[in-house]
């Protein structure tokens, strides 16, 4: 019997093909997801060297970063985006890769459709040329973002060289007081605020504890999604009955006897009782409040009931961090000491691979129903995928949002990074359910505050942040 291992170590061991002495290991990759932005140069590299895609059957492509979120019947106005989208279609055709294109009912943000279609499975290795690949870890997979050269490497060889990351247990204990107002997003923002944006560099997070078991699959995806904002290579949650239930009847997941066998195997994918982690940290979520970011990195976060911190208080003696905080306040046009609930917003964005799944939209609709968006705010909802969109429409959510004054869009990354026309104007302030508040992320000069879907919805109604615990 091998010595006690964590779930991550089990997945790692199962995938090692070869290890170089004092060097990286070659891992087999079970699923490779491809999108239009980080792949064209990889396909070019293959052509240049006359190489093929080794396993097109393990590779899946979609278009999400660039796509307009206006009606699909309209042409793409931005010609450079149109070229990138067309290039992906040509590459998929040439190399025999299945593609969920803009007209497909399966199209959506790559990290939303992977789980939805059952491409994401426990115990697998999953890569994509996108840092938020960590989302798929919610199923107990080792899922990580890679660069374009690595995309080319995986296309050609179905393998990846990796140094084994260290393990980091993030224990989330206790139960939230108000499950609607205090969400998975608040939990992960709080974690990042505490450990810092480089706290996980070189590690894989394993989220554990009562507060994690308590979460639905979609909420676990929200948590794992932002592992990268904590600097981690990946983040995962061990699979349980919720995971297995989710996978029933998903298109690419095993079915019937195969599924039963798979579940038997997946049940063993737990961290052994006596296994140890390289690092661990424990949080009690019992007292957690909704979180709001005030600065220009995802560690600059406070509770909604607090005020914008003073740079000294934030930096705790680190001069470089103090300078960064000063710079952030200037960029964000905020004064230390301002109550968060006094901050007015111009725009509201509900979407992105962090928070654009059905549950997110259902929860946000509870806040919106029967109310109206503040006249000074422009608000939009961008479902994560076409399946999320149609499911939401069959529940009548589109009507709830539209009646309240929200725009209801087609699926894509949209204003999470503003590669399509959905961007902030310089100086505009946005309550956003996405994952990054970097300078200019949502548009040059735009100011982003990261929040949960219910917090974003409430800010849209009031025109400033509100403590949504008072509403739900």
């Amino acid at each position: 019997m091998a010595s006690a291992r964590t779930i991550f170590e089990k997945i790692w061991d199962n995938h090692v093909i070869y290890t170089r002495e004092n060097g990286p290991s070659l891992l087999y990759i079970d699923r490779h997801l491809v999108h239009e932005v980080t792949s064209p140069q990889a396909f070019d590299g293959l052509r240049l060297n006359r190489r093929k895609v080794r396993r097109p059957d393990l590779t899946f492509a979609t278009m999400d970063h660039n796509v307009p979120t206006t009606a699909r019947s309209l042409p793409i106005v931005d010609q450079i985006s149109a070229t990138q989208i067309r290039t992906l279609a040509q590459n998929c055709k040439e190399f025999g890769i299945p593609l969920f294109d803009m007209q497909s009912p399966d199209q959506g943000i790559v990290h939303v459709i992977g789980p939805e279609l059952g491409i994401t499975l426990p115990g697998t290795t999953i890569v994509c040329g996108d840092s938020h690949t960590s989302t798929h870890g919610a199923f107990g997979a080792f899922a990580l973002g890679i660069g374009t050269s690595e995309v080319e490497h995986v296309l050609a060889t179905q393998t990846l060289w990796l140094d084994r990351p260290k393990t980091f247990a993030i224990n989330l204990e206790g139960l939230r007081k108000n499950n609607h107002a205090v969400t998975a997003k608040d939990m992960i923002l709080h974690v990042i605020r505490t450990i810092g944006t480089a706290g996980g560099t070189g590690y894989v997070f394993e989220y554990r504890g009562t507060a994690v078991s308590d979460l639905s699959m979609e909420q676990r995806m929200t948590i794992c999604n932002m592992s990268i904002e904590g600097g981690a290579r990946a983040g995962l949650v061990a699979p349980d009955n919720k995971t297995f239930d989710y996978l029933q009847d998903r298109r690419y997941a095993p079915k019937g006897d195969d599924l039963d066998k798979a579940i038997e195997y997946w049940k063993g994918l737990q961290t052994d009782a006596s296994a140890t982690y390289d690092k661990s940290v424990t949080f009690d979520v019992g007292q957690l409040a909704p979180q709001v970011s005030w600065g220009t990195n995802p560690g600059m976060v406070v509770s909604v009931s607090d005020s914008v911190p003073h740079p000294d208080e934030y930096a705790r003696g680190n001069e470089n961090e103090r300078k960064a905080a000063l710079r952030s306040l200037e960029y964000m046009a905020l004064k230390a000491g301002t109550p968060i609930t006094d901050i007015k917003v111009d725009r509201v964005f509900i979407g992105s691979c962090t928070n654009s799944r059905l549950e997110d939209l259902v929860e946000a609709s509870l806040v919106v129903k029967g109310r109206h968006v503040s006249p000074s705010v422009r608000a939009m909802v961008v479902p994560g995928s076409q399946h999320v969109k149609t499911a939401a429409e069959s529940l009548g959510l589109d009507k709830v949002f539209i009646d309240a004054g929200f725009e209801w869009r087609e699926s894509g990354c949209s204003m999470c990074l503003g590669m399509n026309p959905d961007i902030l104007a310089p100086g505009e302030r946005c309550a956003s359910t996405s994952n990054r508040n970097f300078e200019g992320r949502q548009g040059t000069g735009g100011r982003t505050h990261l929040v949960s879907p219910v917090m974003a919805a409430a800010a849209a109604i009031k025109g400033h942040f509100v403590d949504v615990r008072e509403w739900l």
């Binding site: 199962n14 093909i17 070869y18 170089r20 004092n22 060097g23 990286p24 070659l26 087999y28 079970d30 932005v37 980080t38 064209p40 140069q41 590299g45 059957d57 393990l58 931005d78 450079i80 985006s81 990138q84 499975l121 115990g123 697998t124 040329g129 996108d130 840092s131 973002g145 890679i146 660069g147 050269s149 690595e150 080319e152 490497h153 050609a156 060889t157 179905q158 393998t159 944006t197 560099t201 070189g202 990268i228 600097g231 290579r233 997941a253 095993p254 079915k255 195969d258 066998k261 798979a262 195997y265 300078k323 710079r327 990074l417 503003g418 990054r436 970097f438 300078e439 200019g440 992320r441």
Partner: protein
């Protein structure tokens, strides 16, 4: 890829922590489908104002630093998005090495694929370089950074070092392990789409 020989240059100091890849190459330039020519977009929103004119207060616009081949940075350089465009832009601009106390993981990996050497030095050493504008020599094969007053050692794994020193194509190297990969697929591959489970 050009092999990495000994590099001699002064450094261009970028005195900010947590520089993310959204700043290194803003998203509006990610729509391009080629790999070259990204140098002109490096730190675009910091370098140019909204009219596209160079901002005087940004270090890359200071003539004093023109032509330098080493970028000196602070903690957690290259965090955020996985975009390899960040490494392409730094390399295309003319840098061959980045020195910082720490790097984000994906960015660190991306550098090696593009002939760019990321060097981790102790915080005190990086501080010293920020304060003293001296000639720096980076010798990858010896893993040293030398300045007139001292020589510092840095860590880099053997495999990456070899790739960079020899300018090798890592895909070609991996393909030499074809037998091992095929054996893995026969014996251990999990959940191929045919839904046959091999465990």
């Amino acid at each position: 890829m050009e092999p990495f020989a000994i590099l001699r240059s002064k450094a261009t100091p970028l005195d900010r922590v947590n520089v993310d890849t959204d700043q290194i190459v803003p998203k509006q330039f990610l729509k391009l489908i080629h790999r070259t020519g990204f140098g002109k977009y490096l730190f675009y929103d910091w370098r140019f104002d909204s009219d596209g004119k160079p901002r005087k207060d940004f270090v890359l616009n200071d003539k004093k630093y023109a032509g330098r081949k080493i970028l000196l940075a602070r903690d957690n350089f290259g965090s955020g998005s996985s975009r390899e465009h960040a490494a392409w832009a730094i390399e295309d601009y003319g840098f061959r090495a980045v020195i910082a106390p720490s790097f984000a993981d994906i960015f660190y990996n991306n550098c090696f694929k593009n002939g760019l050497l990321p060097v981790r030095l102790a915080v005190e050493d990086v501080d010293y370089l920020f304060k003293n504008d001296v000639e720096i020599t980076i010798d990858l094969s010896k893993q040293t950074v030398s300045i007139p007053s001292k020589t510092m050692h840095f860590e880099v794994d053997e495999f990456r070092k070899k790739l960079l020193l020899e300018g090798l194509d890592s895909i070609g190297l991996t393909m030499q392990l074809e037998k091992e990969i095929s054996r893995y697929e026969r014996e251990k591959q999990m959940f191929p789409p045919s839904d046959k489970i091999f465990i």
